[in-house]
């Protein structure tokens, strides 16, 4: 297996992007990633496109994006793993290079969610589970799937609605410092608690927004990194992937995501690092409870102590493990297919010490972790990056 590095990153601003189509956003991100790298466009022979789809007009976006980028002839495909579609594309590109088949690959994630009406988008997201047994019969929405976990976690560990709110407050605080984030405003615990109930105990401000956006990364083999003379390659030290039942009723418990726990263990093992060595993390906070679960499932704290971690400020800059200091899905936005790739973009910049100074994490070991969940843990991808 070849060693693989991230050598270029690019991302559009996330938010309501009514100024650009899916392929236009994709090409914006791809162009930035290529310019950020030492690679030439003609060297790109592999392009994976992470996209959940249905909410925009093109249902076969990979070839379209390749055409708009002048990359026809490349090996390309769409990768889908619900909200982890971007990570699926990243994984495909990593496989392409680590296998030795390609020496350069591009992973691109893109989603346009605001071209359809909001109720239609909610309908589409609610179907991202077991359609027949849970949506068709019982109209279970996406927030409701995570609410099932929030209820069980609160009941077992005494996690409070105020603790969930703290996640939103923290992520808005950092979103306000990230020019690419959808939300640029800080909020208070009171704002969260007084927002409209969506699926008890989750309120509107516990939920990530509906977003448009794209992100892209260029990957290269160790040989290619040398050949190109890359200054600060960011190495993919470990990747772990796991999955769980599509049907919520068939989950072993509702206090953690099995796929997160397993994917993290695989990634740590491959990277030969421990959770406590990670210095900055991007975790999947589609809903505030998801970030609390992630702290525990990734081993940043013991099971049941996630609320304590956020309460004590340990996941802020200056704390034990800063999490989502780009705003997370909650404030940066969550264009489904773009999210997993965007996490790699952010962590690459953190490891190169290139983000806005007000949200740069101080580093010693230069180890970062990305955690991207598809659905409600139907899929999970964990990546450990390092210098």
């Amino acid at each position: 297996m070849k060693e693989v590095a991230v050598i270029g990153v690019g991302q559009t601003k996330f938010g309501k992007r009514r100024d650009a189509s899916l392929s236009e956003l994709a090409v914006d991100a791809l162009k930035d990633a290529l310019e950020d790298s030492e690679a030439e466009k003609r060297e790109i022979k592999f392009l994976s496109v992470g996209n959940f789809g249905l909410s925009s007009e093109d249902i076969t976006p990979a070839a379209l994006v390749a055409e708009q980028a002048g990359l026809q002839g490349t090996t390309t495909m769409r990768c889908e793993a619900a909200c982890a579609s971007g990570s699926a594309a990243f994984y495909a590109a990593w496989l392409a290079v680590s296998s030795g088949i390609f020496d350069i690959a591009v992973a691109l994630g893109v989603e346009k969610m605001t071209e359809v009406e909001t109720p239609t988008m909610i309908e589409i997201l609610g179907r991202a589970g077991s359609y027949f047994w849970e949506f068709h019969e019982f109209g279970v929405t996406f927030p409701a799937y995570y609410a099932l976990y929030a209820t069980a976690h609160m009941n077992k560990f005494g996690t409070r609605e105020e603790d969930l709110a703290l996640v939103a407050v923290k992520n808005h605080k950092y979103g306000a410092r990230n020019p690419l984030a959808q939300f640029q405003n800080e909020i208070t615990v009171e704002d969260v608690l007084s927002s409209r109930m969506i699926a008890w105990p989750l309120k509107l401000y516990d939920c990530c927004p509906i977003s448009d956006g794209a992100a892209a990364v260029v990957l290269a083999s160790k040989e290619k990194v040398k050949e190109l003379g890359v200054d600060t390659p960011v190495w993919i030290k470990g990747i772990g992937v796991s999955s769980d039942t599509s049907t919520m009723g068939n989950r072993a418990n509702f206090i953690g995501l099995r796929s997160s726990i397993e994917a993290a263990q695989l990634a740590y093992k491959m990277a030969k690092v421990e959770a406590k060595e990670i210095e900055v993390a991007e975790v999947h906070d589609c809903f505030t409870i998801a970030e609390i679960l992630a702290y525990e499932d990734l081993g940043f704290c013991k099971k049941g102590e996630g609320a304590k971690l956020i309460r004590e400020g340990e996941t802020e800059i200056g704390g034990r493990i800063p999490v989502n200091v780009d705003g997370g899905l909650k404030a940066k936005g969550h264009p489904l297919g773009a999210t997993g790739v965007s996490m790699i973009v952010e962590l690459t910049k953190q490891l190169r010490e290139e983000v806005e100074p007000s949200r740069q994490v101080p580093l010693k070991k230069y180890l970062a972790l990305a955690h991207n969940v598809g659905g409600t843990g139907q899929y999970c991808y964990v990546t450990v990056l390092g210098r």
Partner: protein
């Protein structure tokens, strides 16, 4: 990036799927008779809900239908206030996951006042708006 950006409206795509149920048709026939069924593999004994005509554990097609007693304990729940378009007008509704006495878990709506984790609930087959479904109710309710 304002809201007044120019755009073109796409052609309409209407998507309605015909979902085959031939292999598990007995599930609905039994709902009509007031029974909620699961499947059990005759080869490896795996009990399965939602029912499956092929055992997910050993792939055996030799499965038998087993009636669930209806006795469950609430494992988690949520109350949905913001419904998707196809359930507009139905909200709020409470969704429960309960572990049944037989070991399988079932997700369904709960029709009752109070709900809490660990509470005993009853699973009932039901006909509603002319279609067959199943619901949880408080344990001391016998249903229609």
């Amino acid at each position: 990036m304002g809201v007044s950006e120019p755009f073109i409206t796409s052609k309409t795509l209407s998507l309605v799927y015909r979902i085959p149920i031939s292999r598990i048709e007995k599930f609905w026939e039994s709902l009509k008779e007031g029974r909620v069924l699961a499947t059990r593999c005759k080869n490896c004994q795996t009990l399965r809900f939602p029912p499956s005509a092929t055992c997910p554990s050993c792939f055996s097609p030799d499965v038998e239908w087993v009636e669930l007693s209806g006795e469950g304990v609430v494992e988690t729940y949520t109350k949905i206030m913001a419904a998707p378009a196809s359930f507009s007008g139905e909200a709020p509704y409470t969704v429960v996951v309960a572990r049944m006495k037989e070991g399988v878990k079932v997700l369904a709506w709960y029709e009752g006042e109070n709900i809490s984790i660990g509470m005993k609930v009853r699973l009932l087959a039901k006909e509603e708006h002319g279609s067959l479904t199943y619901r949880f109710v408080p344990w001391d309710e016998q249903g229609d």
